[in-house]
Symmetry: C2
Subunit: 313 residues, 2 copies
């Protein structure tokens, strides 16, 4: 089970293991003296120090944008909000002018500040450290914005959102101490939705993982199983994964003989259809088990109201 570098560390397995650490998603931008602007999607951002106020992130040494970060005096870190997947994908791929048609302001040193983020940090370059195949860039924060929007999250190769914990540990509150609040909560639909989803998730996910596929691969198989052919663009929209992850999942699924990539787009092989059927079976069985004790009429009402909440909230 444990991977050892003695057996040569498998870079793909290593990257997948790193994907267990959930992170926000940032777009880091800079502007060179000649006015050329760059922006790259990065999840390697982190805070370092409060006094002085320092943050860091790292950039691939081979990145075409690096020369501008090297020349620039400043960079800006834009922390993306939950509804900014399109921005994340745009800045994750190489492109001529990633800022075309985009609203932004110029921050310190001209670094582009994006709109509608969760927070933004304008940084003076402070120090650069060698980090193997990446450069670690440390910046001193000279200005920042705090918009507090719900964040975009990246975990195991797929985009996610944050689901606040309704409470810490089941049963860990001294009995009686929270009974009054508890009664009120039992009547609150938001709280009950959170609790029900959490409970559903924690019994469902291990079963899905038992297929040997990661969340990202399972998601891709399930999406592909319902369509004849699908372009990468359509797939990007549908599975909420960055292009790089789709390519990696595709590679793994192709190697396993579950998916082929033709000129017409991605397509499941017969083995892939079988695997997707297994995943659907897991999903259906889970649902049957969860709903077993309820009448068909009640389940119909549940589905109707969940659709209604989705469409009206």
């Amino acid at each position: 089970m444990t991977h050892h570098s003695g057996d040569v560390l498998d870079p793909r397995a290593f990257r997948r293991a790193l994907g267990n650490f959930a992170t926000g998603v940032t777009v880091v931008t800079a502007c060179a003296d000649d006015g050329s602007r760059v922006g790259v999607t990065a999840n390697s951002f982190n805070s370092v120090s409060l006094d002085p106020p320092l943050v860091l992130w790292s950039i691939d040494k081979r990145s075409g944008s690096y020369s501008v970060f090297e020349q620039a005096t400043h960079f800006a870190v834009n922390i993306l909000a939950a509804d900014q997947i399109v921005l994340s994908n745009r800045f994750a791929r190489p492109g001529e002018d990633k800022f075309a048609g985009l609203d932004y302001d110029a921050g310190a040193g001209g670094a582009p500040l994006l709109h509608d983020c969760s927070a933004r940090f304008q940084c003076e370059k402070y120090q650069q450290t060698d980090g193997g195949d990446h450069w670690i860039l440390i910046g001193r924060v000279v200005a920042f914005d705090d918009f507090g929007r719900a964040p975009l999250v990246y975990h195991q190769g797929a985009y996610s959102m944050v689901l606040p914990y309704p409470r810490a540990q089941e049963g860990s509150v001294p009995p009686g101490e929270a009974s009054c609040r508890q009664k009120r909560l039992e009547d609150n639909v938001y709280y009950l939705l959170t609790q029900a989803l959490r409970s559903y998730q924690s019994s469902y996910q291990p079963k899905q993982l038992s297929s040997g596929l990661r969340t990202s691969e399972a998601r891709m198989l399930m999406v592909l199983s319902s369509d004849e052919h699908m372009s990468q663009n359509a797939l990007l929209c549908e599975v909420a994964m960055p292009a790089r992850e789709i390519e990696e999942a595709e590679e793994i699924l192709c190697r396993k003989g579950l998916v082929t990539n033709t000129d017409a787009g991605y397509r499941l092989t017969p083995a892939g259809e079988e695997q997707a059927a297994v995943l659907r079976e897991i999903a259906v069985k889970q649902q049957e088990q969860v709903l077993a004790s309820f009448s068909a009429e009640d389940v119909a009402v549940l589905k109707k109201l969940l659709r209604g909440i989705r469409d009206n909230a």
Copy 2:
């Protein structure tokens, strides 16, 4: 709105702005030559390089555990799973023997490896960089485990979970292309739960934030409003926030005159009760609005089934 260092960067506002970047939670451990073991909760972990395989994290220069990290040849990064809040809290506070009664294995260099994590990385110390009031520790990964468990997430001072995106953008899939899958999904309770909660959350959270309180402060007020007095321990259990965040939220709420901390525990002031009532009002109004178009009978069925799913899934 924008904070500038010209006006002297407010460290509290800066730290709160940094809290918009969601992260996983790790416990980093090490063992000195004399066998003394340390472990600290850190969310400053990140990947740096695939070749060589490097990761980094940073530790407060004033940390009592630092001397062991300084002496040790290795450290281990344990990425916590969603149900390990108790471990996160245990290693976040200073303590005599944080490992007492805990199951763990000895990894490279004797660094403790915790059980039931999402992933673990055993690292040889590679480089240490000055990062203001922290040391940045870079490690070369010599072995790792990938358990793939759902992760514990930290955002805006509170623990959270990851909620997978059911799909990328509403309406962004070419019409017709996903209609078959769509029909199947419309019948899947897990999918509908995710969608309903996401929609509820995105219309509710801005209203809650409009009170001027952060998620962590609002959570603390709501919990306190239902109880006469509450010990810090009980509060820790109930609001799912680390002790440091509770102290900070308490400080802010005390400064605003909403909470007092007496020998008997935390307590809301009359102004605090009023503010909590406003938050409850927001929650109730939101629920009324979301459920407005449904009959009382249907809503009763919804609540019953959500409770049932929570208890049986």
